[in-house]
Symmetry: C2
Subunit: 376 residues, 2 copies
């Protein structure tokens, strides 16, 4: 293998696949990046036990100035190789595999010789059937991930809850995540007519996926096989394993009738919750209290050692019974951030039953659920 | 005490004194910020065992919109108080000391009540004789600190070496730091005619000091008493303890005759050292090798596991004997960064004797010393 390429372009590709590379893997070759050069272009691969990322840089990409002298493949220790590339003196560099998997990297007057590994020993990526796939704009998918993945469980006690549940059915894609204290569910319409599916994707994979996209306007194709999912854009293949097991039936958790409804502007409510949580974070229980009364709506935060805060809230509309309810403000903060800058409706049954948060605008199928904290 | 003030201005003052406040102190009241309001304005104080910072905001500062209702003093837990101020909803806020050292902080509809401490229990800052002081522009002092403090020892085995040695003598201020492997010494002219002094200031205090200045063009007044130094600008008093003990005589360490001299542009040499150190950092000894020969000047880095790098260096001029010398590239990086973007001369005696680095331009009294590593 021997080629010359523009350093900045190569570095970008390398950074993308490095998202999948961990230094803590038990399989030594997976600390490396696999570099494969054929007549069509250059492909890089990084992988860990959860995700694999493959990028492809076609020889036709003029910005990359890719000049191929000899095709071939090698694996190089990723972190270290990235550091070298970053510090090379010139805009272009040349890479050549010598004997014994040694690799010469030259740029200007700097000559590196580093030890590589045989690319034949690198694990193979799964082959995924491209026939059954759905297509989405990248920004639609990343929004869907942002609206749900924060609610996955961070604990391995119930592994299935560390993933987001995706169900394709009847030209609708439903995504739901819950850690059993709160839940977030979003439904979007899908135009494709792929086969229905029902899968659970690890939350961490989805977070890395969101960060790996370079172009919000691109189309991403999603293909599924038994235990893997592939997200494919023009120049990136992102594979994630799926979580095995049955995801709980979350639909029955969502209440449908309520006794109190109140409408807020998200940014204002979020700022007040952040202030109240300053105090609740110092207390033992981390709870804030919301009081909906005839004379006004008030939020309370309290810490015996530090002090307390009380704030009368601005709201849009309020209906139904008066209520006093306590909840973890961190769940509320996450929930509000997922809505962004809009107006929302919070609907309560009672102080001890989960309450829902939805956009005031009914057309968006997005609902969140938070379980309150009993204080007596 | 009761006053109203512009939040952003107050926050700036608070951030300055927070540099001196540690959550790890053994004296509980020092986790607090002392707030004192008198007819002239508002002063904040933060302190730890090494440094104390006091700021003063005069009532005449129109931007601050300081409205005094009642003078007084209180101590508030600094980290927590800072968080509250940061999250207040409006541009202005009001602070009022209630009974039992409780403090009400109100802004818009948000009402905080926090527990404070009696300001009478806060330790007193040293009183320093203002008669004997030198004056410098802030940017001259911060440059002097940047040129020397990186070379202080990070180890407490010889505490005196964790400070920078300052000697005022004959209208010259000399600053020198060494960790016994490398040394950096800078001399600047001083116009004032203060009494001569010879003090050692902790390196960490100087680093915090550099970060605390808001205005590079201001004048800073330096006053010294037995075990404290005060750096005073218009609205900030920065106190540091001095290190006790005798600083070693570093003057005799600096060689005066040499056998090999070479001149480099700093940015080019620095980039090459950074490349070579990528390899040396992976090896056991962290050394790079410089070879000055008739056919050229070459830098080598090597790590048995990873690989090696070899780079022919561009230089301005070279004189004297051929030489092969090995050294810790991290010391060289620190040294070169302190010079900034200029041309420097490196002067060698032999492979086993310390070498010096100076600006090519002779008018600047700045010299650094690095001890090489013997490789055989």
């Amino acid at each position: 293998m021997k080629f010359t390429i523009k350093r900045s372009i190569f570095q970008q590709e390398l950074q993308t696949v490095q998202r999948a590379i961990s230094t803590k893997t038990t399989i030594p070759i997976l600390t490396g990046v696999k570099i494969v050069l054929n007549e069509e272009g250059l492909s890089l691969t990084g992988s860990n036990s959860d995700i694999s990322i493959e990028t492809f840089l076609p020889v036709t990409n003029e910005k990359a100035q890719l000049a191929i002298e000899e095709t071939g493949a090698i694996v190089l220790q990723a972190r270290f190789f990235g550091e070298i590339i970053r510090r090379l003196p010139e805009d272009l560099f040349t890479m050549e595999v010598l004997s014994n998997n040694q690799v010469a990297i030259t740029s200007g007057k700097a000559d590196f010789t580093v030890n590589g590994l045989d690319a034949d020993n690198y694990p193979h990526l799964p082959v995924i059937d491209a026939a059954n796939q759905i297509k989405l704009p990248v920004h639609v998918l990343t929004k869907l991930i942002g609206e749900t993945s924060f609610a996955v469980s961070q604990h391995e006690s119930r592994p299935i809850l560390t993933g987001v549940h995706f169900i394709l059915n009847n030209q609708e894609l439903l995504a739901v995540a819950t850690d059993s204290h709160r839940l977030s569910q979003r439904i979007i319409p899908i135009e494709n007519t792929a086969e229905n599916f029902d899968i659970v994707i690890p939350g961490k994979s989805l977070t890395e996926l969101s960060r790996s996209f370079m172009n919000e306007e691109e189309i991403v194709e999603i293909s599924i096989m038994e235990n893997q999912v592939l997200f494919k854009t023009e120049n990136m293949y992102f594979y994630s394993r799926l979580l095995e097991g049955n995801y709980p039936d979350t639909n029955r958790l969502i209440p449908t009738s309520f006794n109190t409804e109140i409408e807020f502007q998200v940014p204002e409510l979020l700022a007040a919750i952040e202030r109240a949580s300053l105090l609740s974070h110092e207390g033992r229980n981390n709870i804030v209290r919301l009081e909906i009364a005839d004379q006004g709506v008030t939020l309370f935060g309290n810490s015996p050692e530090i002090g307390k805060v009380e704030e009368e809230l601005n709201y849009e509309t309020v209906n139904g019974d008066p209520l006093e309810i306590s909840f973890n403000p961190d769940y509320m903060k996450d929930a509000l951030r997922a809505f962004g800058d809009m107006s929302i409706k919070i609907k309560f049954i009672s102080a001890i039953r989960p309450f829902t948060i939805e956009p005031s605008e009914n057309s968006v199928a997005f609902i969140q659920l938070i379980t309150p904290v009993r204080t007596n």
